[in-house]
Symmetry: C2
Subunit: 198 residues, 2 copies
Amino acid sequence: MMIDIDLLLACGAAYKKVSAGEVIFREGSNCLFYYQLVSGSVRWINVDDEGHEFIQTIIDEGECFGEIPLFDEGPYAATAIAEEDSVLIRLHRSSFNQLLKDSPDIHFAFSHLLAKRVRFKFLLLKALALNAPEARIATLIKYLKAENKNFCPKCNQLKLTRQQIADMTGLRVETVIRAMRNMHDKGELVIEKGKVYC
Amino acid sequence: MMIDIDLLLACGAAYKKVSAGEVIFREGSNCLFYYQLVSGSVRWINVDDEGHEFIQTIIDEGECFGEIPLFDEGPYAATAIAEEDSVLIRLHRSSFNQLLKDSPDIHFAFSHLLAKRVRFKFLLLKALALNAPEARIATLIKYLKAENKNFCPKCNQLKLTRQQIADMTGLRVETVIRAMRNMHDKGELVIEKGKVYC
DNA sequence: CCTGTTTTATGCGTAGAATCATACCTGAAG
DNA sequence: CTTCAGGTATGATTCTACGCATAAAACAGG
């Protein structure tokens, strides 16, 4: 989901560059902007007291993010951090709201997006609550592949480290590494020189 | 979130009675109606091969449910089962769509609702991925209390069995019972004759 | 008040994920 | 080619939630 950049600029949006590791917004803080990722990548995480991360999602080029508070008036539910040097475009929330009011089509596109977000969370919650490590990982990979997210369709390669997969499934790196080796041995995916193909 | 019943009826909605245990719609099936719960309660679940349930949410009187596919055109992400004898009101999806188009206010109310759904899922996923049993349960209870969901504000009593809490947090009954006894001993909640007050 | 059913309670052995330690690839930079 | 860092691999040990068994409350119905 992405709004046309020219339209955004016409509404008063501005580009913003962020460097790898920079925090774009923090869990619990107020939402001031609508954000869209022009280039780079952003990870959207929760952190606990021991420093363990849960990655809600990793945002690729051309996706918007942090849109929930724009619709329900709450604070951010997670922290957005640039994974690599990235370029964002951002629009003040009041302008975004006006845009929604003026354009029912855009509003419907966002309802669609929100519904998809809920759907993905349903899927992952089900997997975390009911499934053992291998099945959790399989669920995540299947979803990412279907959505072409964090995935290269040309070379069929998953663009995530074991650590990132662990942080998206509530597991530890070692567990993910072992589980995925198993899946490789069972022919459920291919690991070659550490890279994952599926 | 609930649409005015007179308005729904004017759009062609109809009442429907269901008995306890009856399936209203099933995971994976197509969405034909918008549903609203008039009386009773409905649980919205995923089931795995071994028969273990994950309860995505328990719907109380006056809430709508199963709205995701109406917005993203996908199949149902979970199965809805009547917990007790209940009365629903349902509206054909085409009429619902028309209603959204005709009434931007209602459309905005649903965007708000969808955003809240995503927010709750964020919260729970974070808890399932990062937290031990007690903290998971605490997160769930805190949320339910704040939303007055499955909770009696008059007597401060949680209206869920340990089994239901287990099925909402990806734990086993015994684990939940033990964890909640602990929380009681630590003064984090009160258990009296098996009932939970917080 | 008795009876049966549902829910809560508690003990105990076990499976398996977390944790810690260590070593090995792999690709990028000099 | 060598060095180095980030990622992957693997063994050993700990820890705790699970799974099963059994019992005791709590409650509804007759």
